[in-house]
């Protein structure tokens, strides 16, 4: 009989080893799955996890790593505070869309004026849009005790409808010959989020993601705010006793995650995506949840996890075009990764003992 025994303290070793084990298990089970789909599992796994970094076309894929990874890291850092405090903002995808719409809206309003002020204003507008969208579930939770998971999620669908309405209506490119979608911001120099160094993939979103990682690290390790966040998540009553105002913490955590998600949306729409289209969002807001957990809600972990997840996006794309792997297989692989992580996490908090079944 297998018995789980709670450890007096979480195992440090396992908390580092668990994500690695989860990745390995995902590769093994994913490989079996790919074999079942009639693909050579070794080739597929190598294509997804290694080719973006080491193949002959790696010079093309490596910059992509930053482009895909930055929004994931930026959103996940914001989410990690709330998740640690037991505040579940699941609607980052919606905040990402609204941030993009607000930011792009500012940019389009200035078109075609060329001034250095446009891009900073767009960043502010993006952050503000995401913040507002996240404050809706936040305020409703504080004022009415409404479940933030459900409200933030409902708002994703609302945001998607709003995006469609904008892309087809007010934001439609007047010179677009009737095609849905806005003007291309990437071709409007004052509003474009371009590569800072050609060929590196380094754009302003990457810079902000790195700043967010550093900021989060300091806040969690050294500042009262981070301490209160951790306390509120582990022992809510103790947090109140320590002077934490639960309502204010909810608003701060929701607002922070919303603002970062909104910024991520703006960087995407002004750079890699270029324009507001009906489906410019590709689910970063949801994938970031996986990134946050895979990174153990720790800033450095999130940075690594964001890189890994970006790798699966790029590698998945290669596998799709070169090996004919269905796109859905990649999202399945990502979901599987989170499952395995949650499963092996038991080893961090519990000790597994094999006890012979006693004859009672």
């Amino acid at each position: 009989m297998i018995v789980l025994e709670k450890r007096p303290q979480p195992s440090r070793g396992w908390s580092y080893a668990a994500p690695v084990l989860a990745v390995v298990l995902t590769m093994v089970v994913g490989g079996i799955l790919f074999a079942a789909l009639g693909k050579n599992p070794v080739t597929v796994i190598r294509t997804i996890f290694l080719d973006p970094l080491f193949s002959e076309f790696a010079w093309f894929y490596r910059p992509q790593l930053l482009i895909k990874g930055a929004p994931l890291v930026l959103i996940a850092i914001g989410l990690s505070f709330g998740f640690r405090a037991g505040i579940w903002n699941i609607g980052a995808e919606g905040q990402y869309i609204i941030g993009a719409l607000c930011g792009a809206g500012v940019g389009l309003a200035f078109y075609p004026m060329e001034t250095r002020l446009v891009f900073p204003l767009m960043i502010l507008a993006g952050a503000f849009g995401g913040w507002v969208w996240a404050m809706i579930p936040g305020v409703l939770k504080v004022k009415f005790g409404t479940n933030e998971i459900l409200v933030s999620l409902m708002l994703v669908y609302v945001a998607e409808s709003l995006l469609a309405a904008m892309a087809l209506g007010p934001m439609k490119n007047p010179e677009g010959m009737g095609f849905p979608g806005s003007r291309n911001l990437a071709q409007y120099p004052s509003a474009a989020n371009l590569e800072l160094f050609a060929g590196t993939g380094m754009h302003w979103g990457v810079v902000f993601a790195l700043i967010a990682v550093i900021f989060a690290y300091i806040a969690l390790a050294k500042h009262t705010f981070g301490f209160h966040v951790r306390l509120a998540g582990q022992a809510p009553r103790a947090a109140r006793f320590a002077g934490v105002n639960p309502g204010r913490l909810i608003l701060i955590c929701m607002g922070l995650s919303g603002a970062l998600a909104g910024m991520a949306g703006l960087f995407e729409v002004a750079g890699p995506a270029g324009q507001v289209t009906i489906d410019f969002n590709v689910g970063y807001g949801f994938t970031a949840i996986i990134v946050a957990f895979l990174g153990r809600l720790h800033p450095v972990g999130i940075l690594l996890a964001g890189g890994l997840m970006a790798l699966t996006y790029i590698g998945g794309g290669i596998a799709q075009s070169n090996l004919g792997l269905p796109a859905a297989a990649i999202s399945l692989l990502q979901g599987m990764l989170l499952f395995f992580l949650l499963a092996v996490d038991v080893l961090t908090h519990y000790r597994v003992r094999f006890a012979a079944r006693k004859v009672a």
């Binding site: 007096p8 050294k222 009262t224 306390l231 109140r240």
Partner: protein
């Protein structure tokens, strides 16, 4: 009572790092009231859980009614005639009394029949209960009645009671004892678990004493001096706290008709509480848990905001001040629940020291935490209060109850409070740690601090308090000098037993006489 009902032979149960029961053997006779005496952590709970089928022993055996008894689960134990009243009630707050009772029975009668059964049994044993009430709305004493009736409806041969009196007023204790004696007279054996010597002397026929998982003695509690049993139980000779006579200090804490609504469902509203505490005195507040203790502490600590003028700290209104502002002003609190309220279980002792120490110990600088200073503070507490732990980097959860309690009380004392309020400071703590905590509170009062001790343990309050008041249903009685207060007077202050009727004793005259003689006995050592 010569016939053996249950015999335990060499029961051993080990958990990682601790042997809960080591080779425990004793037997219980039919109709016997048998006390199982021991400190917290002596292995009493594990032992009764073994008998009730919740724990499988590593070795050893049990014989019930001459047959081998190895219940696979509580259901099997119940079918064999073993019933148990839990220390932390195994009740479901949102359900009715009838539903709760049905859940404890293996072959339940129909829902309609159960109401009649409840009425019959509750009348027979003097334990009135309305089957349709929601359990969450009941008082602690009434909740216990639900558990007892749940057991009695199954005609048990052995009734296990785990610390049943810790939540009862003295009058309710008397009624409970009457019920138990009646059951005993009818042939039901009772295994009575307690660490209160007075109760055991008043009630029990035999006592088995456990220490560190082992049986260290068996005696007749009516023939043995309480002091002797206490030493058997604890293993050392205990020092009683020393109380100096202190000059009357200035008024440091004043509550002026403190009123607050219940903060949540099944909570208690505070109703016009008036209290004055001077520097250098200890005020004891007695009462059964659930009568507003948590709410009173929350109103004092700042977790619950009240009108500004309702709480005065050295004449300054602080009723609306947030938690850390009150700490900065010198009003410190120690809540009842150690794990999860006074301390965060999965955080280190350093982090837990920081939790409340941040204001008065200057452990943060513009919001940035001074970890080395916090670690030093944790080390100071560990050293000053003899907290047994490898070091401040260990989690709160890894400490034993007594050590953690010393840590969280010590954390507040080490911050030089003006006023210290503690709720259940020694609940579930071993005797040595309890004595150390009480002594520390008295020493603090000697230094001119105003101390408020809220407790269910009347013995403890009599030991440390200068003045005593009772908290009942959110109301605080006027205070009276603690010295010379009798148990009956305390009982009256606590509002007596709620709506209890005398048990219906038609069974036999001899039982009545025996009861009458026992009722006279003092329940305190």
């Amino acid at each position: 009572m010569t016939e053996t009902l249950l015999a335990l032979e060499g029961l051993t149960k080990a958990y990682p790092g601790v042997v809960a029961n080591r080779n425990v053997s004793f037997s219980i006779g039919r109709g016997e009231i048998h006390a199982l005496l021991g400190e917290n952590g002596a292995g009493k709970s594990t032992l009764v859980k073994t008998i009730y089928g919740l724990v499988k022993p590593d070795s050893g055996s049990m014989i019930l009614n001459g047959a081998t008894f190895a219940p696979a689960d509580p259901g099997a134990a119940r079918r064999a005639g073993v019933a148990m009243v839990f220390q932390h009630f195994s009740l479901f707050d949102a359900m009715t009394v009838a539903e709760n009772i049905v859940l404890g029975m293996d072959i339940p009668p129909s829902p309609r029949a159960i109401a009649g059964e409840v009425k019959r049994v509750s009348h027979l044993y003097g334990l009135p209960l309305d089957p349709d009430r929601i359990v969450g709305d009941l008082s602690a004493g009434e909740r216990q009645r639900v558990e007892i009736i749940r057991c009695l409806l199954q005609d048990p041969k052995l009734l296990i009671m785990d610390e049943p009196t810790s939540v009862l007023t003295p009058q309710e204790v008397d009624i409970l004892f009457t019920t138990l004696r009646k059951l005993s007279a009818e042939g039901t054996a009772i295994l009575y678990i307690s660490h209160k010597l007075g109760e055991i002397a008043a009630l029990c026929d035999t006592a088995t004493v456990l220490r560190q998982g082992q049986v260290v003695g068996t005696c007749d509690p009516r023939q043995t001096a309480p002091r002797e049993m206490a030493e058997l139980m604890v293993g050392t000779v205990l020092q009683s706290p020393v109380r100096a006579t202190r000059p009357e200090g200035p008024i440091l804490l004043a509550l002026r008709s403190l009123t607050a609504p219940a903060p949540q469902q099944f909570g208690t509203a505070l109703k016009g509480i008036d209290l004055i505490v001077r520097g250098g005195e200890v005020v004891g507040i007695g009462g059964v848990a659930g009568n507003g203790q948590d709410e009173l502490v929350a109103a004092l600590s700042g977790e619950m905001s009240v009108d500004d003028g309702m709480v005065l700290l050295a004449d300054v209104p602080v009723g609306r001040a947030p938690v850390n502002a009150r700490r900065a002003a010198g009003l410190l609190c120690g809540p009842e629940e150690r794990l999860g309220h006074a301390a965060a279980p999965d955080m280190t002792l350093t982090e837990n020291a920081l939790m409340t120490g941040v204001a008065r110990k200057e452990l943060a600088n513009h919001g940035f935490l001074r970890w080395p200073a916090a670690r030093d503070f944790a080390k100071e507490i560990i050293a000053a209060f003899d907290v047994r732990t490898p070091g401040p980097e260990n989690t709160a959860r890894s400490l034993s109850g007594g050590n953690l309690q010393k840590f969280v009380i010590g954390r507040e004392i080490m911050q030089d409070p003006k006023v210290l309020v503690v709720n259940q400071p020694t609940w579930g703590v071993d005797a040595a740690a309890a004595a150390a905590i009480r002594q520390a509170l008295l020493t603090l009062a000697d230094q001119g601090v105003a101390v408020v001790v809220i407790s269910q343990d009347l013995d403890e309050l009599m030991e440390v308090s200068d003045r005593f008041c009772a908290l009942t249903d959110g109301r605080l009685s006027p205070s009276r000098p603690a010295r010379g207060l009798t148990v009956d007077e305390i009982g009256m202050m606590l509002g007596g037993a709620h709506d209890l009727e005398a048990p219906h004793l038609g069974a036999s005259g001899s039982t009545d006489e025996r009861l009458a003689s026992h009722m006279k006995q003092d329940t305190r050592p």
